[in-house]
Amino acid sequence: MIADLDQRRAVGPEIHGAAPTGDLAELWENHQLDLKLVNPPNRRKFKVIVVGTGLAGAGAAATLSELGYQVEAFTFHDAPRRAHSVAAQGGINAAKGYKADGDSVERFFRDTVKGGDFRAREADAYRLSELSVRVIDHMTAQGVPFAREYGGGIATRSFGGVQVSRTFYARGQTGQQLQIAGSQQLLKEVGAGRLTLHTRTEMLDLIVSEGRAVGIVVRDLVTGEIRPVTAHAVVLATGGYGNAYFKSTLAKSSNVSATWRAHKRGALFANPCYVQFHPTSLPLNSEWQSKVTLMSESLRNDGRVWVPKEPGDTRPPNEIPEEERDYYLERLYPSFGNLAPRDISSRAAKAQLDAGKGVGPLRNGVYLDFSDAIARLGRKTIEDRYSNLFELYIDATGEDPWTEPMRIAPGPHFVMGGLWTDYDGMSSIPGLFVGGEASFNYHGANRLGANSLLSASVDGWFVLPWTVPNYLAPQLGTDPLPEDHPDVQATVRDVREQIDALLSVGGTRGPDYFHKELGDLLWDHVGVERNGHSLAKGADAIRDLREEFWRDVRVVGHGQQLNQELERAGRVADFLEMGELMALDALDREESAGAHFRTEYQTEEGEAQRDDEHWASTSAWAPAGPDGRPVRRSEPLTFERIALATRSYK
């Protein structure tokens, strides 16, 4: 154990996810019978706030509104369609078994738990698999143009980490198609006058009164107005925090503020250190680059990954003869080859880079080569499958993947961590529900490709609309808190004070400077591989950086206007707090699991070495107490349906 771990964190009592017990296959159905219902005429009497209009938020808001609840939806974007879900490329999984390739709800469930390296709740993962089927039905009915076979049925393909074909897709724009359909359902409710939508409005705090979530404080991004909104329940569907790394595959404005501020009000934050690095990102071209571009992992279905056998080989790829290439994924993982799961592929790539075999001008990538596939299947087929991805690559790099291999590298992409929730999607603050990437369940320590569009959709369309009413039902006859209530006013005051504080530092560096520095620290210390000493150093460096931020940040302009610097400064301030917890969680978890790879804990073959005896659990962090130490609580995980086993993709 790192000597000063106890000075850095405290350990609190266990926590439990309240998942019902019994046969997993019947759990959700039985549980639905136990969930309380609200009579249709009474539903108008309840107000629910939904923050976020991505797949999770749009689904929850539209469905709750259809059911008859008063819904107010919020997004900082200018339109609901722009939520980051729109950028997902590859596809969405479902256990439809349309291909007669042995797929089933059970197999999908097992793949998810195993892919997550046994760090997810079995009951939640099972429900994900079970409801996947309905998501495809629902999205198809909405007019999502999924790829079709000639016979008119829906086509599927296989995706990283599995051996069946269960990924539904719409060319390389699956997220876009699902997201646009979801926001259309949301707007349909707005048009019908049943739902109120606030665009360009950012949630800056959660209002908690007598231990319950009763509202939020928002800032109108155009006028700068700050105001409270109260309700019977609050749903956060605000996406993931991968942008903590600054250069990530996420959209520029994705941020952690909504969930982080809820955490500061007491909501437990689960597994902050579980970050997935995507193996098919584009390598950075230089240090001024503003983000990492993702190339869909579906490319690995037909592309072969390789590096030169000799370190420091600077020949152009087409001049390196076949026998001097190392197709290392095919060599190391013969049964999965180029489709090995993301964490494994990213780590394998990092090992090649560390061995000096990186390619490209900055020697920071590996090749993804389509020449065999083009020769075998013809250019037309490859065009049908990936034309927009190839165009994206050409635009971004000016290089032509038809004639020379693409270059790819691991990039921060998805966070499995998020606010802790119980089986009902409710956080540790009653009345605060969380869905989509903002929450933590389902994916354990590593997410399977195409499982996240699914989890966001499942939460939004098929879980929260059942569980939120269960919380509302007993509150019949109560009103949302009045705006002049002292707890509401106190939260509004806190938000104003923070904005004033940011505006009045009067330092010399813009928020992006600190964000980039934080990103570099996280990449170095809480990256693809971690180790105890480096994590401790990283945590300290992040703390120092945060102090420097509050001494030296410069925010030009004032708060009563559209001020993007101010928006960024607030988000960076939260990332700087979050980043330290990411490092602390990684330091605390003395094992390797999935994407969390501690170099001290590996097998002889260099694979992640779990410690099931001590760490078969979810870490759920409470905010720091008066002594400044965050408190780690644990939810024990038990595996009844599927035996704990070491993952092997050999």
């Binding site: 339109a79 950028a87 629902h138 049925g153 829906i154 259309q184 030009v556």
Partner: protein
Amino acid sequence: MDLTLRIWRQPRHDTPGDFVSYQVTGVPEEASFLEMLDLLNEQLSERGEEPVVFESDCREGICGTCGLMIDGRPHGPWGNTATCQLHMRAYADGDEITIEPWRATGFPVIKDLAVDRSAFDRIIEAGGYISTPTGAAPDANLIPVDKATADRAFEAAACIGCGACVAACPNGAAQLFAGAKVAQLNMLPQGQPERYQRAANVVDTMEAFFGSCTNHGECQAACPKDISIDFIAWLNRDYRKAKLSGRQAG
């Protein structure tokens, strides 16, 4: 490279705006156009001047947030790319570039280069959806869609809602955006029950915000997703049928 930028600055929607010239220095050729503007903003902010407001998010050409009029062309010189995908290798040292917001009555300027495109959402609210309550859908494969139709629907659905079509149109019309949405839904079997109602409601709402289409075709040329003007014909045909059969917007 060093560049001269003429940028539209406008503090608020209700105050007048004007072009301001800026020198931006040390722009790497590999940078994207928006990274070049990031650099400018960094240089402005260092001097204590207010950075230029421009919007972007995914920076991968898919969210539709970005969108600038660059030397009079929506999304700049490349064609079939969104502003965020334009790279500085399109320019040379010493170039002067004029950057404006979208200009259209339907898209009021909010500040500098940011405009309000919420009228697009009003169009969707009016009919850009298929009514399908959650939980009511049959098995997805019970609704076969032939591959050609599915592919065509996808092409219409690829619209990113950026608004370049409106900005390019001399009349500020939104036919390409609306046509693409209506065509996507109206050609699929799932969209048939609401087909004519949808066309009528979408067109009536569109006309309340945007100018009328006189077939200039500038929209398709400006569209980063190469949405075809053939979809406008779909919209017109279904709209005419709707009106002939006496379906009222509602």
